[in-house]
Symmetry: D3
Subunit: 190 residues, 6 copies
């Protein structure tokens, strides 16, 4: 299946890319052993590419407040409600690794209410799904409830901002029909 197109839009060759983007992609490739298709599919728009990954890294590459596994849980659960196959499969693999749990991604994608979550994780996912699915109805009481459950304002922001970022990311991946690399499906299945 690896000869299927990875995007509905042009996919530049590595050699055609601006240096900073090519180097970033080569670094990812070295670390992962392959280039996740989202990097190639967004590269035809260098400025958008740079802003996208800058926003991504600002939200996902830290572990104060929310752990990295919690951040990936938000991605998998909200991406599933948006029907974003790329994000469910790719971040499902990352979540299995981060959470050291081979089951959690399929559970969150299939039905968060059935996932093996702690109370804290359940609140995170509940709030993230409201931001993803019906942000216009968020009221002060929603934030107050999170604070009552022990979340700091910085954590609440992170949950909402990650859900918001992947609202964008899911739509781009669905627009371009970015194909998940075959490698992601079986990764970290334990």
């Amino acid at each position: 299946m690896s000869d299927q197109p990875i995007s509905r839009f042009p996919v530049p060759k590595l050699s055609e890319l601006p240096d900073d983007i090519r180097e970033l992609i080569e670094t990812v490739q070295e670390k992962s052993g392959f280039v996740p298709n989202v990097f190639l599919a967004l590269a035809h728009r260098p400025d958008e590419f740079r802003a996208f990954f800058a926003a991504h890294d600002a939200l996902m590459d830290k572990s104060e407040g929310l752990s990295k596994a919690e951040r990936e849980m938000i991605v998998v659960a909200t991406s599933a409600t948006n029907g974003c196959l790329y994000c469910v499969v790719a971040h499902g693999a990352i979540l299995r690794i981060r959470a050291k749990n081979p089951l959690i991604s399929d559970q969150l994608a299939g039905n968060p209410a059935k996932a093996d979550l702690s109370e804290r994780e359940r609140h995170i996912i509940g709030f993230a799904l409201k931001v993803a699915g019906d942000s216009g109805s968020i009221i002060d009481e929603d934030l107050d409830r999170m604070r009552t459950h022990g979340f700091t304002d910085d954590e609440v922001w992170d949950i909402g901002a990650i859900a918001a970022f992947f609202a964008m990311s899911n739509r781009l991946a669905n627009l371009a029909s970015i194909r998940p690399n075959d490698e992601f499906y079986a990764m970290a299945r334990g």
Copy 2:
């Protein structure tokens, strides 16, 4: 009403901000006569702020393919379906200016099917609303139809990417309940 809070999250003072962000805000203030609240509400997270406006400018500050008015039409129509008051009011003002049309923003926010749109604009808004509301169901035929109506792939990407960016932006504004500046409401009403 101008003493209402502009965000549910901390709003830093200009003097506390990193130089580049403070200068960017001061430039906007000089041009507009006031600081749109979204700049202040996002400033508590400098890295996210920088990535957000870099992505925004990459999509909104150009007029090849889609005109600037067409870009703002996408923002107003999709933000209305997401119940994002900030974006409807602020970008409604910008759209009235860009389109030199005092009615178009209220029309698009109220019901795009009743707006005074050209056939081209109607296709833009239709596609953008699908990306905003149900991106998982976009199929190849949706893109083919746009091409048949004369849109280039770059234009289709721009429509989708703007809808995707404001899917994020709307959720952030709804998360923080960013208050539209009073100034926007009456602007360019003709």
Copy 3:
């Protein structure tokens, strides 16, 4: 834009109308300076016209219990959920005047949860939106809750009856695609 059709159905000339209807319209014109299009668009059916405005006036032209501004708030909020551009724009203008508030209409149309409302107003709008959107699920407890918040039965009826009347009105305006007069958009913007 003023040369666009104002209805999908026949629009009679003033001179062709029954005396009582022509006189009513002329009175409105003197007071407002122009004839709101709904009067012209409904006039092709004189009996329906008379019943429509009799029902309208019985609900909207009084200020016992609910104030006139509160009545118009119901109209704007429920009409927005029905995608009725005519009612949102025309009653949006009336509400700005009645409430002496240039922002309230755009807020209610954009997202009632973000509008500057008192607790009382918030209950009014909440109940009206349930009548507008899902009246079949109204249970005794919904009315009891309103009574607990201090509303009389006459007020509860008025809220529900106004939402019900505009459920009809919105559908007629959408059926005929009644065009809001350009004058309404900029009225009372302060």
Copy 4:
């Protein structure tokens, strides 16, 4: 079951009513053998009562264009989607009589797609359900299609206006929880 309340709001005695309303109700009682509860439930608001039945009669008491049975079909089908038990049961009885068909009301209430309808009736119900359920999305093409199927503009208006009137009526009956008279259920079952 006949000792259940017929409304959540005050129900005046016949003797307390204005003469014109009392006489209208007495006439209905003579013709039908009982007083349909909607007359009693709306009588606490005489002006609204008069306008309501004036509008009702203007739309339902004629048989040019749409037959009386077709008019009642619209009522039953749209009232079912609004969960209005009163209108489904009361107008279900009237429709069985008008159409001389003991099955048609339960069919339309249960699932219009399964009802024994002619092509003409199917178009009527399809258009009426769009007005009832999603009037904001009606476009010129919807009306053109009806014209192609042989409907006059007066017929299209009637279909839409009946659906609109019962959008109001259903909401009033649901607001007040008007109880259908027991007599309606078994009427004209053949």
Copy 5:
């Protein structure tokens, strides 16, 4: 109307059926005076027929815990939300008989919130509708609430399992467009 097809799929003659199925149908015919169409419409698949009625009887032909009337209430209410005309009409007749109540079926089909139900019945229908319409969101607390209202685990299972069985049954009847026998409509109307 009795010459309408009763299924979109082949309907075998009684004489062509395996003995056990033919005998079962003849027994039903003797008891009811006619053959409900579902028996004929499913008979083209003998193994599925046997399993279907075995499952049906295991759930519906007992009265421990839930009464037979309560079981039929679940069928009517959930079938109505699925737009299954066959089940609403056929089981509506059975429910009128079982509950000795000529009104209850039309009430449950029209709007369960308006039906003359005891508190116990209201909880049964509420839980059944959640299983029918959104079973993925059932959480432990839903079952705990039923236990608090006095339901045994066996009763909760029965409610859910009946709703689940008719989720299948409704879909089969809608797939085949099984026509309710004319006899059911007027049965037990009192």
Copy 6:
């Protein structure tokens, strides 16, 4: 995680079960190496258990018309829309085996529009999803279209009947919160 409860309802011991059910379960265990939890979770109701698996086998254990892989595709796609984690995970594993394709299950569960499907498979899944999600709106034209695409009536029935059976199965699994065995998740990942 294997010490989590596998059902919200009683789970009998193998030794307590009727002989036929115990033997059936032991046979499954020998073939699969473990007992899928659905067998244990349904065993507390022997008659329902027998009817359930009789219906299941009548639909799933044959390969005339639809192949076994096609049958499992229907299960995975429709179970995903019902949020049935058990069926998605367990039948996802079976589908990977039957289709000899390690990717197909996650694709169908994540977004059928993005799955690697042939035209024939796309029609199967489209029809199955309509039966699962909105069977009341199935019209003759839906079946005609399937026939035009080359499907026999027996195949159309099978697609619909499998979707209908799993509408029941998904609701039972969600009612009982049947836990997928850990073994299923990593099975046949290639």
